[in-house]
């Protein structure tokens, strides 16, 4: 248990890093506190589809490395991983029955980078099946609940990751975002979620949904924590040729400008609208230039998404056929094998 009175629900990765490096807390203590939180809350929240059985061994390994003088950037930090990101040797199901027993034959690049940075993986988080959905109710293994109010949804599709971070069941998490699947559950659960610019984080080892849109990104309690994870997982990767597509970096801008699309608040709940306007004022006092701009095509973005995304999904999902991996249900013909497996 924690030597000091640390509230694991509030503890940030930034603070945990400091405490770890000052030896005021060990990774084992952080992980034990996290597992205790899981024991207390998981039956109500159901953020995880699997909590790994070797969490404390991973923590001890991190503590040993620290004692040996290693200081990798996220050494001993417990994180949760969305169930569509591959960890070699682990089941990766995308919360689908068709992959319920599928074991990843390799690790995602983002996972390898986190492992190199010393993180501890707590478990696989629940999601809308194959990342299609916005509530984490569409999981083959049951819905996740919002930790702030169990009668509400946590958002989705990375709802398990969002709920895990918001409830103290992980210090941070990875999610994936195609059309809002990190940002929307982060908002629903009151945490920070970043969908990185396309090409910034390798998707090698992320189950593909809409390949022209998918990105892996951090879900954390603070913006600084999101930056800490992003710095580790980002970078070019020869195994994802869409990483590294930018020849030049965006030039650093001295005066930061925020553009608010005109009429974006329309339809918001009054509490949220108030919060939104307060945030704008906060940015202004911090020295940002905030301007309103008309986005005449904004209303067409969602219908466009619903042309592009399903087309890419249908190409990407055809691999789940019961032939090469995953569930196989035998029929009387080759074609029936497909149909029975998918039914």
């Amino acid at each position: 248990m924690l030597r000091m009175s640390i509230d694991i629900e509030k503890l940030t990765i930034q603070e945990a890093k400091k405490l770890l490096s000052k030896r005021e807390v060990s990774s084992r203590e952080l992980c034990e506190a996290t597992l205790k939180k899981i024991e207390e809350k998981e039956k109500d929240i159901h953020a995880y589809v699997e909590v790994f059985s070797n969490v404390l061994q991973q923590a001890d390994e991190a503590d040993r490395k620290r004692n040996d003088g290693e200081a990798s950037p996220l050494l001993g930090i417990p994180l949760a991983i969305k169930d569509n990101i591959l960890i070699e040797g682990r089941v990766a199901s995308a919360s689908s029955k068709i992959l319920e027993k599928y074991r990843a034959t390799y690790s995602a690049t983002a996972i390898k980078k986190l492992q190199k940075a010393g993180t501890v993986f707590i478990g696989r988080t629940n999601m809308d099946e194959f990342a299609m959905g916005g509530s984490t109710e569409n999981s083959a293994f049951g819905a996740t609940k919002n930790p702030h109010d169990l009668s509400r949804v946590p958002g989705g599709s990375s709802g398990g990751s969002a709920a895990a971070v918001a409830s103290g069941e992980a210090l941070g998490a990875l999610g994936s975002d195609t059309g809002g699947s990190i940002r929307q559950p982060a908002a629903f659960c009151g945490i920070v979620g970043l969908k990185p610019t396309y090409g910034k984080v390798s998707r090698h080892g992320l189950m593909a949904m809409g390949s022209s849109l998918d990105q892996i990104g951090p879900m954390t309690k603070t913006v600084t924590d999101a930056e800490l994870l992003f710095t580790v997982i980002s970078g070019n990767d020869s195994l994802d040729s869409t990483s590294g597509i930018y020849e030049k970096e965006i030039p650093k801008i001295q005066k930061k400008k925020i553009v608010v699309p005109q009429g974006i608040q329309k339809g918001l709940h009054q509490d949220m609208e108030k919060n939104f306007n307060e945030s704008i004022e906060k940015f202004k006092t911090l020295g940002y230039e905030v301007t309103e701009k008309e986005f005449p095509h904004l209303h067409l973005s969602l219908p466009s998404y619903y042309v592009l995304m399903p087309a890419e999904v249908s190409a990407n999902m055809s691999r789940y056929d019961g032939i090469r991996f995953g569930l196989h249900v035998s029929g009387s013909t080759f074609l029936e094998d497909y149909e029975k497996t998918r039914h």
Binding site: Y102, R103, T105, Y106, S238, S241, T242, G244, I245, Y246, E247, K248, I250, H297, H299, L300, P303, S304, Y306, V307, S314, S318, D321, G322, I323, R324, F325, G326, L327, H328, T333, F334, L335, D337, Y338, E339, K340, R342, H343
Partner: protein, 100 residues
């Protein structure tokens, strides 16, 4: 509403190798119609939308990524691991039912 009938759903399910029950077909047809209606919002705005060259500044930063068609991994390095996930195999082949 766009009319998507059950025959169309049947045809689409065959193409995507899904078997649907008649209840599923009945329930999906109007849903599919609604989706088609929604994306029909794009009708009429395809002409005169983005001007040529719009977003060029952004695109000039994007480059194609190529690599030499060389240095493959060692032969059979991953074969066993990957085939171990196959539901049915014969040696180094995935076994399936007769296709033709």
């Amino acid at each position: 509403m766009s009319m998507i009938d059950e025959q169309e759903i049947e045809r689409l399910s065959k193409l995507s190798r899904l078997s649907l029950t008649s209840e599923e077909r009945t329930s999906y047809a109007p849903q599919m119609g609604k989706i088609i209606d929604y994306i029909s919002l794009l009708k009429g705005v395809t002409e005169g939308g983005a001007k040529k060259g719009e977003g060029a500044e952004e695109n000039s930063r994007i480059v194609n990524v190529f690599r030499e068609d060389a240095s493959p991994h060692t032969s059979e390095e991953f074969t066993e691991k990957i085939l171990a996930e196959a539901p049915d195999r014969e040696g180094n082949f995935v076994r399936v039912k007769k296709i033709l």
